[in-house]
Amino acid sequence: MSFDSEQHTAGRAGAMSNGDYQVEVVIKNADGLHMRPAMQFVDLAGSFRSDIRVSNAQTGVDAKSIMQMTMLAATAGTKLRISAKGVDAQEAVEALRRLVEDELFKERSIGPDCAKEG
């Protein structure tokens, strides 16, 4: 899966008609969603009460399971959709988006173009 910064528009958590929230994010740290960032993601997801799922083009997984999250093998540039259902869905989606796109899991990014707001 290749990264095309032009096609990417920074995600804003959006409400679905059924009350779920979802956002599309792009993995921007050079090493991708390897185990340590996946653990940060799972820890943060676990702090919310909502059901949270993450999907790529092929599959969707439980955001609170480290085994499943690592299975996404999301390389730098991969687009993922985070969706949440529950009382704190909007907050959860926004917090996870921030971890992925703004904080880059506190790792190095794949380049200046990808870290900017677009």
Binding site: D31, T70, M71, A76
Partner: protein, 157 residues
């Protein structure tokens, strides 16, 4: 990429001698050194790097399995090795339970995408109850090889 492509079967250990985490990591890294997948001179360095990584955050993800791994400049090609322990090893796992199956993965530093692919294959299988059970029940290196080959066949179907 298939699971069997990354596992060095000659280095697989059906019954780990080590009963502690660091010992198990060293045993597996040394086995890879004996098979020539990494240089013998690098073994100690690489084992230390894996242990350091493990100290930062345990790869004991629960359900009796751990996946210690590291990216290291002395590693030329992605390689995994499996070690089993019937007694169980304390990996400071997330669920605080002992680890019976250790899958160690060494990756070069310059190919993070392939590292993720290797992790994906390992975790896709570790998620399966049957895979974990068969791996834990394996008594010999040949048993372990069969578990991995069967897993590849399931994936191909």
């Amino acid at each position: 990429m298939r699971f069997s492509d990354i596992v060095c079967f000659e280095a697989v250990i059906a019954q780990l001698k080590a009963t502690d985490r660091d010992g198990a990591i060293r045993e597996l890294v040394n086995a890879l050194g004996r098979c020539g997948r990494i240089s013998k001179a690098s073994c100690q360095k690489i084992a230390r790097a894996v242990i350091k990584r493990e100290d930062e955050a345990s790869t004991g993800i629960g359900r009796g399995v751990a996946v210690p791994h590291v990216k290291h400049s002395d590693v030329k090609e992605h390689v995994a090795v499996i070690g089993c322990s019937s007694e169980g090893i304390n990996f400071v796992s997330l669920d605080k339970q002992p680890v019976y199956s250790v899958i160690l993965l060494l990756s070069p530093t310059d190919d993070p995408d392939r590292h993720l692919q290797a992790m994906e294959i390992i975790f896709r299988n570790l998620q399966k109850d049957d895979f974990r059970r068969f791996l834990r029940q394996a008594q010999t290196v040949e048993d372990i090889r069969e578990v991995i080959l069967d897993a590849d066949e399931d994936t191909d179907e």
